[in-house]
């Protein structure tokens, strides 16, 4: 082997880089998928869409609501997926009525997936009972 020292050093760097991800997660500790905590408002048994849809496409629905409410003036309520109740088309006054905690509901998955939506730049999250101050 020629230039043995350099080649081995290079290979070592390569291996460390390639395997560092595994190592990082081994040392970083708990890396289980967190489950969002869900507190449904009394009487509500379902969300406005099926869970699968909400998981993947809630942002699309929120954008759609936003356009409907602000731009088209369609402020009528929507019914839940099982048709039981009506929900206001609003993040603050609709969604967050049921999902009362931004930290426990929204942030859990968003942090896990490293998603930082800019909703909360304007919209106010419900007051979190844990620390008593508003989360905005």
């Amino acid at each position: 082997m020629y230039d043995k020292g350099k080649v081995l050093l290079g290979l070592a760097i390569f291996l460390v880089l390639a395997l560092s991800v595994v190592g990082y997660n081994m040392t970083a500790g708990d890396n289980k998928k967190p489950e969002p905590e869900d507190a449904k408002l009394k009487g509500y048994t379902a969300c406005v869409k099926k869970t699968d849809y909400m998981k993947s496409s809630h942002m699309v629905l929120l954008n759609q609501w936003r356009d409907e409410v602000i731009r088209e003036g369609k402020r009528e309520m929507v019914e839940t997926a099982d048709g039981s109740l009506m929900v206001e088309k609003s993040l603050q006054n609709g969604c967050m009525k049921c999902h009362t905690s931004k930290v426990k509901f929204c942030d859990t998955c968003h942090q896990y997936a490293s998603v930082k939506p800019y909703c909360w730049d304007c919209h106010l999250a419900p007051v979190e009972p844990t620390d008593g101050k508003e989360a905005h």
Binding site: Y2, D3, K4, V7, Y24, N25, N31, K33, S114, Y118
Partner: protein
């Protein structure tokens, strides 16, 4: 058409990934086992290749120069195009790896017909431009994917994602790197198709990686913007991969498995293909050597240590009599009789 078979191959891979990703039973196969094997193949393959390369000697010093070598003090030396010191070589390698310098120096010759046909040499930078855009956006995309492989997510990734999605288009936000990446790779592919001289020298192995990577990008973007797969379920799977804690994938859209199949193929294909230029660049003798062959002696690495150097003087000493007999001119004449005698006397 040399491009046809790669197209068929990539389509077959997409179909296979999609079909296997549709049922829970085979999802494990394509979502967990395949990428794990592929990663192993990638690592082991690269190491094997590197060891193989490092065993192959470079017989002569071939530090290709593109500028004035170090010479007399009043002649301006071109340090980085004709480096003589190790540090200058490092600079040249840096420029090569990070800025693709030799590609930047690419020229093309063309003849313009007119009243008098003119031959003209000029820089040809499109290949460099699309190449560098492609590589850097690819790097960005790879870094961005680390959010699926680290928990807690690596610090700094959030900033990268923010900058990459700075122009807020759509939700989830469109990454600028994705757009540039797809544009650049399309341009590289089209270049191979429409330029006659490049098409002539292109083989299936040139088209295949381009198409494969294009398909990876396309499935990735479809996943994000069209099907909007459940990202947390995917992260559960990918985290399982890197913590060696293989979980049965949950309910994930088949397009994800297409993506994974294609990426796995790329990883398996990588060590056995032209894509190894990523590693090979470190081994390119025309780039990684200093032009110091006049200052330092370069010993042929495959020399047999038992064969001692044999200089011309020694050769002549050995065969002088025969040479003189054959009337071949010699540097040193045969010792004359008188001279021989005096020598003998002295020695005596």
């Amino acid at each position: 058409m040399k491009v046809l078979r790669p197209i068929i191959a990539v389509i077959a891979l997409i179909v296979a990934g999609g079909v296997l990703g549709m049922s829970q039973g085979t999802q494990m196969l394509v979502g967990v086992i395949l990428p794990s094997i592929a990663f192993l193949v990638l690592i082991v393959g690269i190491i094997r290749k590197v060891i193989d390369w490092s065993k192959s000697p470079v017989p002569f010093k071939i530090p290709t120069t593109c500028g004035q070598a170090k010479s007399l003090s009043f002649i301006k030396e071109d340090r980085f195009d004709c480096p003589t010191s190790k540090s200058d070589v490092i600079v040249r390698m840096f420029l090569e790896i990070f800025l693709f310098r030799s590609l930047f120096r690419n020229t093309s010759a063309d003849v313009k017909s007119g009243d008098l046909p003119k031959l003209h040499y000029g820089p040809s930078l499109w290949l460099w431009l699309f190449g560098i855009l492609f590589h850097y956006t690819f790097l960005t995309i790879v870094f961005r994917h680390l959010r699926l492989f680290t928990e807690p997510v690596l610090p700094g990734l959030a900033l990268l994602e923010y900058l990459d999605g700075f122009v807020q288009i759509g939700a989830p936000v469109l990454y600028q790197s994705d757009l540039i990446f797809m544009g650049a790779i399309t341009a590289l592919f089209i270049r191979r198709l429409i330029m006659p001289q490049v098409r002539y020298i292109s083989l299936g192995t040139d088209y295949f990686p381009l198409l494969l990577i294009f398909a990876i990008g396309a499935t990735g973007m479809l996943m994000r913007h069209y099907f909007r797969v459940d990202i947390t379920a995917i992260k559960q799977l990918t985290m399982g991969l890197v913590t060696l804690n293989w979980a049965n994938p949950g309910n994930i859209h088949p397009v994800f498995f297409m993506h994974v199949t294609l990426v796995s193929t790329l990883m398996i294909y990588f060590p056995f293909s032209k894509l190894m230029h990523a590693v090979g660049i470190f081994f390119s003798p025309t780039r990684n050597m200093a032009n110091d062959s006049r200052a330092k002696r370069h010993i042929n690495p495959w020399n047999d240590p038992n064969i001692k150097p044999h200089s011309y003087a020694a050769y002549e000493d050995e065969f002088r009599q025969f040479m003189v007999d054959a009337e071949i001119p010699v540097d040193k004449e045969l010792p004359s009789a008188s001279a021989a005698e005096t020598t003998e006397e002295v020695t005596a």
